[in-house]
């Protein structure tokens, strides 16, 4: 608790009668880059809006930098927010967009100019001062929105799906940009995303959310290697999850002998953890796609569909053909629930 910079305690958020987030507890350290990860409707955006002050909590407490800000209005909270749609002001030039907050604070003109120019330089938009947002590309608009928040020197910078509106190449560029900005400024960042690869690539710690609750919290490495629940495992790419009953694997479709008993109710495999071409079980390939260094198969088995990746060195199994496979104990992830 002592080193928490942002701290959410028993935070409950509701829309009318619907409770979107019940009793959330979360501590964020200073200078940390945190990802709120989860499918749509998991409460991640709601939580972010509450931190920003755009949504008043039903109960609970929000502390930032040692101060209780639960009842502090959004315009006095000293927080930055980069909207998914960027929410730039279309009637103002790029320069005036960035200067907007500084001018509100009635800072002297020279200072506004210096800070705005520095802010635009930080995101590589020097020379775009007189452009209107509508005359800028998606990536430039994104960076403009970032600069507009950064010049305010916020205690915490919130980003709502910062990469979702960009194409693949820009996404990578922006990801590096965000990491660089975070390193340079040491600012505490919280970003919301539904994309696990984005969260794992960017964040220091990932908060995986489901139904308004934290499903698992950890470093990307921890979450990737050791998901603790079926939901987390599925989100982290363990696409084959089966129940263990005695020494059998069981699904809604049927069962297969596994060989040994374990103390956990669920076992999970990544597609890469399934052995193809050898093993005690037999299934039929119903989908196959080439992915460069491996082939991705969908195998119809007594347990239903199994996703399996096979090395490109192995002979290709054609659609409709039988194939031997195994769900090895060595690559199984044991899940408690």
């Amino acid at each position: 608790m002592s080193n928490a910079y942002v701290s959410l305690t028993g935070l409950t958020l509701s829309y009318g009668q619907t409770v979107a987030v019940p009793e959330l507890n979360l501590d964020i350290r200073k200078g940390e880059l945190i990802a709120l990860l989860g499918p749509s409707g998991c409460g991640k955006t709601t939580t972010m809006r509450a931190i920003a002050g755009l949504l008043a909590p039903t109960s609970g407490k929000i502390m930032i930098d040692g101060a209780d800000v639960t009842r502090t209005p959004a315009n006095k909270r000293g927080i930055g927010l980069v909207f998914q749609s960027y929410a730039l002001f279309p009637h103002l030039s790029a320069f005036e967009n960035v200067a907007f907050g500084l001018r509100l604070q009635k800072q002297p003109d020279a200072q506004v100019r210096a800070k705005t120019e520095a802010g635009m330089a930080t995101v590589g938009l020097t020379g775009f001062e007189t452009r209107k947002p509508s005359e800028m590309s998606g990536g430039q608009q994104q960076r403009l929105a970032l600069a507009r928040s950064l010049v305010m020197e916020p205690k915490v910078l919130l980003l709502d799906e910062p990469l979702s509106n960009l194409d693949a190449r820009l996404r990578l560029e922006m990801r590096n940009e965000l990491q660089r900005v975070q390193k340079d400024t040491g600012i505490t960042m919280v970003f919301v995303t539904h994309d696990q690869s984005e969260a794992l690539a960017l964040a220091d710690r990932v908060v995986l959310m489901k139904d308004g609750k934290i499903e698992q919290l950890g470093t990307p490495a921890e979450l990737y290697a050791e998901p603790s629940t079926a939901f987390a495992a599925n989100f982290m790419g363990f696409e084959n999850i089966f129940r263990l009953e005695g020494a059998d694997l069981v699904s809604d479709h049927g069962r297969l002998p596994f060989g040994t008993e374990a103390a956990v109710p669920l076992l999970a495999w990544r597609p890469g953890g399934v052995a193809v071409g050898k093993g005690p079980h037999v299934g039929r390939v119903i989908a196959s796609s080439f992915a460069g260094d491996h082939r991705e198969y969908v195998i119809d088995s007594p347990l239903g569909q199994i996703k399996a990746d096979a090395s490109i060195d192995l002979p290709e199994v054609l659609l409709g053909q039988q194939v031997a496979f195994d769900l090895p104990q060595a690559t199984a992830r044991h899940l408690a629930a």
Binding site: L54, I79, L81, S85, A87, L88, F100, L104
Partner: protein, 258 residues
């Protein structure tokens, strides 16, 4: 359809639309003493005479006053109303929208009669005040509708962004919402102005001795004097309307909002 048929239809339609306008212009430019078409010789004396008729000057001033201040008042009520209807999930918003639109739907003659019987007479309101209130009410629907449609195109998160950057809700409205719906507000003003200026049926009931709007004054002038000055005045007013719309179109693409 052959080209000839198409041109024929187009020509007929244009004649139908522009014809009356041309007749009025030329009837006003007559050198004769009575309102006739075709005019008996050409002269601008009736156009000049319009400016010397005292009652025209008074009623023009009143109509201008009503059109400008009635529309401004309607906007003053209409902009917040449109904003509230647009941004907040109000109970009965649909009902409010319908009520706001009522002055367009209900025939003006009924509005005028009702106002006279239940507003002007029992409350002993002055004629000018009665006209002002009526014109404001008649223009309000345009204000709400047109401003609503430009608010619809404005994302709500822009205001939230302004608030996060330090604005109060009100500042966000003034600094971010208003500048971005400027075009819609101007369009609503022009529509309202023209509607008010040309309003006859309701104003007919609310005109008293010495206090009338210009269209009513023109009607009563024609009952007594049948000279071409009314046609000349009509033509001048038409030119004024065209000029306003032309300038607005040039400045901000007025037609996008209507």
């Amino acid at each position: 359809m052959s080209r000839l048929t198409i041109w024929l239809i187009l020509g007929t339609t244009l004649t139908f639309l522009i014809g009356p306008f041309l007749i009025v212009i030329f009837a006003g430019a007559s050198a004769g003493e009575t309102l006739t078409f075709p005019p008996q010789g050409l002269s601008l004396k009736w156009y000049a005479k319009v400016f010397t008729v005292e009652s025209f000057r008074d009623s023009f001033a009143l109509s201008m006053f009503l059109a400008i201040f009635g529309t401004l008042t309607a906007l003053l009520i209409g902009i917040p109303a449109a904003y509230a209807l647009n941004r907040y999930n109000l109970p009965g918003a649909e009902a409010i929208r319908t009520i706001v639109a009522a002055p367009i739907i209900v025939p003006g003659i009924i509005v005028g009669l009702a106002l006279l019987r239940y507003f002007v007479v029992p409350l002993d309101v002055t004629i000018t005040m009665a006209l002002f209130v009526t014109h404001t009410a008649l223009v309000l629907p345009y204000a709400v509708r047109v401003v609503s449609s430009s608010l619809n195109n404005l994302r709500a998160d822009m205001e939230e962004a302004a608030v996060i950057l330090g604005c109060t809700r009100f500042q966000a409205f003034v600094k971010v919402v208003l500048p971005n719906i400027r075009g819609g507000i101007l369009a609503a003003f022009i529509l309202g102005f023209v509607t008010s200026f040309n309003e006859v049926p309701a104003s007919l009931f609310l005109s008293g001795p010495g206090v009338r709007t210009l269209p009513i004054d023109m009607l009563s002038y024609m009952e007594i004097t049948f000279d071409p000055s009314v046609a000349a005045l009509s033509a001048l007013l038409a030119f004024m309307s065209v000029a306003i719309v032309f300038v607005a179109e040039r400045l901000l693409g007025f037609s996008r909002y209507v």
